[in-house]
Structures are given as structure tokens and as C-alpha cells.
């Protein structure tokens, strides 16, 4: 399994005098790696992808494919399969024609094309719709045609711009697995753009969390989730309690509470973040932070129990799976909540 190495070096895109849409972005993608570009709307994901694919000119920086500088190459000479955010299917061709197009451009023989197109359509479960026009398909079906069209050419790099955003939950799950499978099997180096963090966590080898045209953090899903590098990342990936505190003498003060920090921390204002499902209704022990508070509100959603607990002037959202025979706490009850010190995320507070 060869795979292609993709390197972005200081990739920059400026539109006029505005703040750059992509700002000196550098990223090294290993051969066959599946990288997620995750970030809020407008952070420059699509722009980055389009520069990699050669659809827009970079204002600065380079794109290297297997060490070769392709920054100046037009898209048709880059051998990259792209799935567009809005599909961009050819309206005047049927589904099979759309999928066959890339193969025709490669000068493949008729019979071979037909076989490949059929296989690709089966892969995305659209074999029965081969003769339909794009406008006769649902959004999700169009998206799958776009995917088949990009995959069938077996490109050296696959660029996916939110390819699953229009599918229903079940199909989405299936297509996720399908994309991962194909990607692994073919060993195609893949950049996957999404603003759905669950999708990024579930699918990617590594995730680049983007904010304002830069990479805020690059790491494995586990890294990103467990060790977010900044308040932004912690907030964007997964949900968090976000509590203002103050660091002093290596410990953290929240109102009149004092808790332990997982690592030495410089004194000053901090933001303390704790994932709601990492907090439990137990007494802590060694290596745990424990606080007492009173239940303000209880929301029971069947499999999850969400409780807001006030302590030290702050509100802690606690989420626990419901358990048989354990009645949910009542509003106003005094409770003890605890979480591992290691689950306490501390970031110096950006003073505006």
C-alpha cells in the first residue's frame, strides 16, 4: 500500500485586505492517513481544501505531493478526487455518466469503465439509480454519487468537503464506515472537512482543529478530546463545563471552593473546564476533586440524567447514565460531586 504524502507549507489565502481566510497553515499528512479538518463555519476549511485541490490559487505557501511541488499545477493535473460541499454533479449526465467522466478523461476503455462505474455505484448503494439524472435524486443520493465519482478514479489524494452533511443519521453512519473502509483499503491519503466533531472523532486518524484560518491543534481524536490545547478546542470538541476561576499556590479557587490542578499552573485568572459526563455523584478519593453543592435542576432524558449543581457560586452540569433502581436526585437536594483531577482542564483566561 503505497499512499501519497501530502505536505502543506505555510499555505495562505488572502481576499483583498480582509484578514486572511487561511493564515500560514502548515500540515504534514502521512501516506494513507485520514486527516480531519474540523472547525466552526467560516474558519477556512473549504478554502484550505480548494487550495490543495488547485481550485483557487494560494496567496502564499506551497503544496507538496510526495515531495513534488504542485502549487502551480492546474487541478486536472493534480490527481485529487474532490467531493464538493454542494455536490457539483453534472446536471446533463445521468448518474453513471457522472461517475464515468473521470475514467473517460483518463482514456480508459469502454468495457473497463462500465465495470468500474457499476462497482463504484454498488459501493454507495446506488446501482439501481444509474440511469437517473442528478435532479431526480434526493440530496443524500446526490452526495453519494459525488462520492462515487471522486472515488472511482482512485486518486492519490481524496478531498472531502462535508460529504455526509445531508444524510440521515442511519445512512450517515453507514457511509462513514464505507468511506473509512474504502480509504483504508485503497490507502488513499484523505482530507476530510467537517464541522461535526463527533464525525471527526469517529473517523479520522488525526484531527486538525481550525480557527480563523489557523490550526488551533493537531492531534489524534484522543489527544484532542482528552488534552485540548486551548479553551477554544476544549469548547469546540465535546461539551464542557466552563467555569471562571483563579489559580494560586498551585491550586484552583472557584468562589469559595478550592480544587487541585492536574499540572503546575501559573497564578492568575483561569478557565476551568470539565466534561459533564466525567463528573459523578460520588465522594472522591485520592486523585479526585470533590465538591458539595445543591441540585438546581434535573433533566431526565431516558438514558442520560443531566443535573445542574451549584457549588461555590458556579454551576456544574453533571451527566450520568441512568441506572436501574437509583432514583434521580431531587431539585434542592444537597449532593457531593467528584471528578478525577486528570479530567480537570485548566487554561489561562484570555483577558480582553
Amino acid at each position: 500500500m503505497a499512499g501519497t504524502a501530502l505536505v502543506l507549507e505555510g499555505l495562505t489565502k488572502r481576499y483583498g485586505t480582509l484578514a486572511p481566510a487561511v493564515d500560514a497553515l502548515s500540515l504534514t499528512v502521512q501516506p494513507g492517513e485520514f486527516i480531519g479538518l474540523l472547525g466552526p463555519s467560516g474558519c477556512g476549511k473549504t478554502t484550505t481544501l480548494r487550495m490543495i485541490g488547485g481550485l483557487i490559487e494560494a496567496s502564499g505557501g506551497r503544496v507538496l505531493v510526495d515531495g513534488r511541488d504542485v502549487t502551480a499545477l492546474p487541478p486536472h493535473r493534480r490527481d485529487m478526487g474532490i467531493v464538493f460541499q454542494n455536490y457539483a454533479l453534472f446536471p446533463h449526465m445521468d448518474v453513471a455518466g457522472n461517475v464515468a467522466f473521470g475514467l473517460e478523461m483518463r482514456g480508459m476503455k469502454r468495457g473497463e469503465i462500465a465495470a468500474k462505474v457499476e462497482a463504484a455505484l454498488d459501493l454507495v448503494r446506488l446501482g439501481h439509480l444509474a440511469k437517473r439524472r442528478p435532479k431526480e435524486l434526493s440530496g443524500g443520493q446526490q452526495q453519494r454519487v459525488a462520492l462515487a465519482r471522486a472515488l472511482v478514479i482512485e486518486p492519490s489524494v481524496l478531498l472531502l468537503d462535508e460529504p455526509l452533511s445531508n444524510l440521515d443519521a442511519k445512512l450517515r453512519e453507514e457511509m462513514r464506515a464505507e468511506i473509512q473502509d474504502i480509504q483504508r483499503r485503497l490507502g488513499i491519503t484523505t482530507i476530510f472537512v467537517t464541522h461535526d466533531q463527533a464525525e471527526a472523532l469517529a473517523m479520522c486518524d488525526r484531527i486538525a482543529v481550525m480557527a480563523q484560518g489557523r490550526i488551533a491543534q493537531l492531534g489524534t481524536p484522543h489527544d484532542i478530546y482528552e488534552h485540548p490545547a486551548s479553551e477554544f478546542v476544549a469548547d469546540f470538541v465535546g461539551r464542557s463545563n466552563r467555569i471562571a476561576g483563579h489559580a494560586a499556590d498551585g491550586r484552583l479557587n472557584i468562589g469559595d471552593l478550592t480544587i487541585d490542578a492536574p499540572a503546575p499552573v501559573a497564578p492568575g485568572p483561569v478557565t476551568v473546564m470539565i466534561r459533564p459526563h466525567r463528573i459523578a455523584f460520588t465522594a472522591g478519593g485520592a486523585g479526585w476533586n470533590e465538591v458539595r453543592g445543591s441540585v438546581r435542576r434535573v433533566t431526565y432524558v431516558g438514558d442520560v440524567l443531566a443535573c445542574e449543581v451549584t457549588a461555590g457560586g458556579a454551576v456544574f452540569l453533571v451527566e450520568q447514565p441512568t441506572q436501574p433502581g437509583v432514583p434521580p436526585p431531587e431539585a434542592g437536594a444537597e449532593v457531593c460531586i467528584a471528578w478525577r483531577v486528570a479530567d480537570t482542564l485548566v487554561f489561562p483566561r484570555e483577558t480582553a
Partner: protein, 261 residues
């Protein structure tokens, strides 16, 4: 209720006013009389047979058809790249260029005609094919550019990018994607330009010569000297031609859609 009835009557009256000349021409063309009189005293096909013997008119008709076809082809070849660049390009002076290229649409035709006359006399282009072609192109190109620009701007987004990412070089993108998707616009342009050229009379009057003339000019000359219903028969055929072009276009691509309405 009365208001609505009045409204309908008004619209009917307007239509009558607009179409009356066309409608009048048709019974007139079947007149059995030797002169243009209304109503005709009897009906016959004599003028439909007589017109084919009118060699001057027939030659002018052939010229007009050939000219319209040439203008059509030249307009498409010139206006297509222009429209692509003007509708897509992000360069300084784009707006000004669009305005400049489509300005002849607004200019009084008589002014253009006069300017061309002055210019053409100096170059010996009066009454020549190149002169006529140039003059008609001047009128047709702005239409062509306008309609094709509309066609370009209604192309679905990103399909050309998709094609090029799939390995299609620019000319293949144009041939396989851009052109087929613009076909309604191209057909509309062809039809409009054909009719504009075929119908052009003001400028033609100034630049035709004794050896080379167009049908509208020949008809104009004819009625100056003769007053029989022969021109009515020719006109009726022209109405038929125009109508069939419009209907074919409407059937094929939907005229409204092609014009971007």
C-alpha cells in the same frame, strides 16, 4: 367585476393594436386585386406565385438568409469567449467593458448607420459582403454577448471545477460541460441574432449597394415603385418564418429560460 372586464377589454385592445398589422397582412397576401386595397375584392394565390418570378426580391432573400447565417456563426464564435470572460472575470474595468460592448443596443440605429456609411465609403466597403457582415455584426454582437452572459451566469456552480478535478483539461471541460450546459443560451442567441440580422433595415439601407442588397431593403424599394399585394405575400412568409423560429426555440429550450427570465 366591471373593473376586471374593463381590464380584459384593455388588454384585448392592446393586443389588437400590436397584432393588427400582422393580421392584416395575411388576408391581404391572398388578395386577387392588382393593387393594395382593403378589403380585397377577391382571394387568390396569384401573389404567392408571382413573387418567385421577382428575381430581384428572390436574390435579396437569398442574400439575407446567407447573411443572417454568417452573422449568426460569427457572433457565436466571437461572443462566446467574450461572454465567458465578461461574466466570470474579476478584473478592473470589467463593468466598463460590458457597458462598452453592449452600448450599440442603446444607440439610435440611424447614428450607427451614418457612422458606418462614412467609414465604409472610405474603405470601399459599401455594397460588399464584408461591409454588410461587419455592419450586421455590430448590431448582433451586443445581443449575442448579453444573452450568452446570462447563460454563463446561470451555469450551476462548481461543475466545471469538478470536471477539472476529475482530470479534464480546460478545452475538454468546455466541450463536455460548459458548452452542453449553455446549449439553451446558445440556441437562443443563434435565433435572436438570426432574426436581428434578417430584420435589420436601417443600417442595411445605408450600406447596401446596387449589386448586393438585403430582403427588407429590396421590399422597401419595391413598395416605393409598385403598389401590388406582392410584398404582403412576402411579409406573410416572413411572419411564418419568424414564428416558426420562435416556436421551435420555445419547444426546444424554453425561450424564457434561455433569456434568463
Amino acid at each position: 367585476m366591471i373593473g376586471r372586464a374593463a381590464h380584459r377589454a384593455l388588454i384585448a385592445a392592446l393586443f389588437l393594436f400590436l397584432l393588427a398589422p400582422v393580421v392584416l397582412v395575411i388576408p391581404m397576401s391572398f388578395s386577387a386585386d392588382a393593387f393594395l386595397v382593403w378589403p380585397p375584392s377577391g382571394f387568390s394565390l396569384r401573389w404567392y406565385t408571382a413573387m418567385w418570378r421577382e428575381t430581384k426580391l428572390m436574390e435579396a432573400a437569398r442574400n439575407s438568409i446567407l447573411l443572417a447565417c454568417l452573422v449568426c456563426a460569427a457572433t457565436l464564435v466571437l461572443a462566446m469567449p467574450a461572454a465567458l470572460v465578461l461574466a466570470r472575470g474579476r478584473f478592473r474595468g470589467r463593468e466598463a467593458l460590458v457597458a462598452l460592448l453592449t452600448a450599440p443596443l442603446l444607440l439610435p440605429t440611424i447614428v450607427l448607420a451614418l457612422a458606418l456609411l462614412i467609414l465604409f465609403v472610405g474603405y470601399g466597403l459599401i455594397g460588399s459582403w464584408p461591409g454588410l457582415l461587419l455592419a450586421h455584426l455590430l448590431v448582433a454582437l451586443p445581443y449575442g454577448i448579453r444573452v450568452l452572459m446570462t447563460a454563463v451566469s446561470t451555469l450551476p456552480p462548481a461543475v466545471e471545477e469538478a470536471a477539472s478535478s476529475l482530470g479534464a483539461a480546460p478545452w475538454r471541460v468546455f466541450r463536455r460541460i460548459t458548452l452542453p450546459l449553455m446549449l439553451p443560451g446558445v440556441a437562443a442567441t443563434a435565433a435572436i441574432v438570426f432574426l436581428v440580422s434578417f430584420d435589420e433595415v436601417v443600417i442595411s439601407l445605408f450600406v447596401v449597394g446596387p449589386e448586393l442588397t438585403t430582403l427588407p431593403v429590396a421590399m422597401f424599394r419595391y413598395v416605393e415603385s409598385r403598389t401590388d399585394p406582392l410584398v404582403a405575400a412576402v411579409s406573410a412568409l416572413l411572419v411564418l418564418l419568424t414564428l416558426s423560429i420562435v416556436i421551435v426555440l420555445e419547444r426546444a429550450v424554453g425561450l424564457g429560460r434561455a433569456l434568463g427570465k
